[in-house]
């Protein structure tokens, strides 16, 4: 979300960018983060950090090749 102005404005408002995490995972993770963090600030940091592949660290150029091993 940091690439364009609109995204940066959202971040300034306090929106936490979760990249490609799906909403189901986000809900559960938020519950866990808030229960285990000292405060909301730390909880926000936990949300943004990839723990169990809920956030993709990179986008492969050819997903089909990656998943099925061939085109």
């Amino acid at each position: 979300m940091k690439v364009y102005d609109t995204g940066r404005d959202l971040i300034e408002l306090g929106v936490i960018p979760l990249e490609d995490m799906i909403s189901e995972a986000a809900v559960v993770k938020a519950m866990w983060a808030m229960a285990n963090a000292r405060d909301n600030i730390e909880a926000a940091k936990i949300m943004e950090r990839n723990i169990a592949n809920e956030i993709s660290l990179k986008s492969p150029i050819n997903r089909r090749l990656l998943y099925y091993g061939k085109d």
Binding site: K2, V3, R8, L57, K58, S59, P60, I61, N62, L65, L66
Partner: protein
């Protein structure tokens, strides 16, 4: 004056703007095509070199592998934020060089038109300015600037139809340290380069090995402009390159003086005429080769007042004709012919006369140049030659040259214009405050000297060995091996330095031995499975027989430990075979007998053990 600029690859987990690694992929799994077109930069204006590159309209093929590239390398996804680890390394190096870090780091785009960046630009950011490098004897060399930038894609091949790049290297973080120009001997410059390299390596945050550090130098002589020389990969090239380039520049100044001497009136009239018909049936093989391809022509350029100047050689190998030939290669032509060297190369006297007539060259002091090739390129090349000839009286022309492996320099492109850099708008600026810098001060490397003293103390090495192991690419392996085995550090260090060097002298390439396999050899030694003497043999066999497993080499050499019984048998035989020598020399024959025994055992036993048994048996047989 020489300004040294080094580009050092950083040892980070990720690339600078994405989470790919730059290691581990051999074969690409995907190839995609692109074409590059130049556009006005966001600040307006074209880059002249870009215009020519665009007319080549080559297709560019990028080779990618999922572990080393993602959509960011393919320019299909915006860059991620600057890699934290790389940024910290750059800041640590800036602090180590006493440089002033900027308050806010802005990432910029530097236009690149040869396809080595899929985006058409290289992302770079200024980290700090000023500072100094401490040399031995309290001397200081000033630092101009330190930048953090991404490396370009790796060129795989280039023919006239397409250019192939591999994306594995694209995006790898590099730190560029530019030093202030200083005047010094080539040897002094080498010392500066060595000292800087050592400081970087002392940080333990940079990559080591061939190709991870690249030197560029900016060379100027008194009365000349600055020429940029790129791509000095190995430090032993540095001295040769400096000497060659300094001589070349002095030669250009001499040529300029010679030309000025003879031309009282200076006109920039250079006539260009087509000469294809004159040379169509020339016996010259070079000309025939050009003309047998379709759509080619030969152009003749009249260079007023240049008779004798094109071939004038003030120093060995330094000629204007040669400089012009290098320039036309940029435009894809093979070279030039010029009147100072003709008739020759198959071009006849009558052809020379015909060209002179065509160009209206009388008995004056005019020369001519012949160039040939593809019709579209020849015009560009002719313009470039005329431009260059107009600058001869300047002496040294600012340009970018490349260093060759044998220590010479060749022209690669004219010095680019300044409209090449503009802000990278996809990455936010990074504020740097004292809090951040203070947290990194603990990681700033101490001086190289105290680092060496630490190594000497910790591992009980003498200074020479400590320096050698530090400078080698195997320092990490050395420390690992000391930690995980009980083998003496001095022994390990000497195997990793002296022995590997002697393998190189034998014409083998010890870089092909992986850290893992060398460590395995030491572990086997530690466990008593092999003897000390066998280590160099094992390493050599792995290289000559091209195998990767230490155990395989041991099998091939038959290097099992010798049993006590077999050892005694062998020694008895040696003594029996050499009775004549023993009767002659008595105790003094021990040395020769040791040599013969060891060569039979070929590294399967510890020398000390053999020596004591042999000495005893020798004593027995003499008594």
């Amino acid at each position: 004056m020489i300004g040294l600029e080094i580009h050092q690859q950083l040892a980070s987990q990720n690339k600078l703007f994405c989470n790919c690694s730059n290691k581990g992929a051999d074969q690409s799994t995907l190839i995609f095509n692109r074409k590059l077109r130049p556009v006005h930069s966001e600040l307006g204006g074209y880059d002249p070199a870009a215009i020519f590159e665009a007319t080549k309209t080559k297709s560019i093929r990028y080779h990618s592998h999922p572990s080393t590239s993602c959509l960011v390398e393919a320019d299909e996804e915006p860059p991620h934020s600057v890699d934290k680890e790389s940024l910290e390394t750059a800041l640590i190096l800036a602090l180590a060089l006493h440089s002033n870090v900027v308050d806010e780091i802005h990432v910029m785009r530097k236009i690149v038109i040869d396809g080595s960046n899929t985006t058409g630009f290289q992302r770079t950011m200024l980290i700090s300015t000023g500072g100094y490098l401490e040399m031995e004897g309290n001397q200081k060399v000033g630092v101009q600037s330190i930048c953090l930038e991404e490396d370009a894609a790796r060129l795989l091949s280039d023919d006239n139809i397409a250019r192939d790049y591999s994306l594995d290297r694209l995006g790898t973080p590099l730190v560029e340290v530019a030093l202030e120009p200083i005047s010094g001997t080539p040897q002094e410059m080498l010392q500066v380069a060595v000292t800087l390299g050592r400081l970087l390596r002392a940080s333990k945050r940079v990559e080591r090995g061939i190709g991870t550090i690249r030197q560029d130098i900016n060379v100027s002589v008194n009365g000349g402009s600055v020429v940029e020389i790129k791509g000095i990969q190995q430090l032993d090239q540095l001295i040769k390159v400096i000497e060659f380039e300094t001589t070349r520049q002095l030669g250009m100044i001499q040529i300029a003086a010679e030309l000025t001497k003879r031309r009282t009136a200076y006109t920039s009239e250079f006539t260009v005429k087509d000469a294809t018909d004159i040379l169509r049936r020339s016996p010259s093989k070079g000309v025939a080769r050009i003309l047998e391809t379709e759509n080619t022509q030969i152009m003749a350029i009249r260079a007023e007042g240049f008779d004798g100047i094109l071939g004038y050689e003030p120093y060995d190998g330094v000629r204007l004709g040669r400089q012009l030939a290098e320039i036309v290669r940029f435009y894809g032509l093979g070279g030039i012919f010029h009147s100072d060297e003709l008739p020759n190369y198959g071009i006849t006297e009558s052809e020379v006369t015909a060209v002179k007539e065509r160009l209206n060259i009388g008995s004056g002091r005019d020369a001519f140049i012949l160039i040939g090739g593809d019709r579209d390129r020849v015009q560009f090349a002719a313009d470039a030659i005329i431009q260059r000839l107009n600058k001869v009286t300047q002496g040294v022309v600012p340009e970018t040259r490349a260093a060759t492996l044998d220590g010479k320099t060749i022209f690669i492109r004219p010095r680019p214009g300044s409209s090449r850099m503009y802000p990278e708008t996809d990455v936010l600026p990074i504020k740097i405050d004292d809090l951040i810098l203070d947290s990194l001060r603990g990681s700033v490397p101490k001086s190289f000297d105290s680092y060496i003293k630490d190594i000497m103390q910790k591992y009980h090495l003498n200074r020479k060995l400590a320096l050698e192991i530090f400078d080698s690419d195997r320092l990490k392996l050395f420390e690992d091996t000391v930690k995980s085995t009980k083998v003496q550090p001095t022994f390990i260090a000497s195997k990793l330095t002296e022995d590997l060097t002697s393998l190189r002298r034998k014409g083998l390439n010890p870089d092909r031995l992986s850290d893992k396999s060398i460590k395995m050899a030491f572990q086997l030694l530690d466990g008593g499975d092999i003897a000390k003497e066998s280590i160099p043999l094992i390493l050599e066999t792995m290289l000559t027989k091209d195998i990767n497993e230490v155990k395989e080499a041991i099998q091939i050499l038959g290097l099992k430990q010798v049993s006590e019984c077999e050892l005694n048998e062998i020694i008895d035989k040696v003594i029996a075979d050499n009775m004549v020598l023993i009767r002659q020399k008595g105790r003094d024959s021990l040395g020769t007998l040791m040599g013969r025994t060891m060569s039979l055992l070929r590294g399967r036993v510890d020398g000390k053990k053999v020596n004591s048994i042999l000495e005893n048996k020798l004593k027995q047989s003499l008594s």
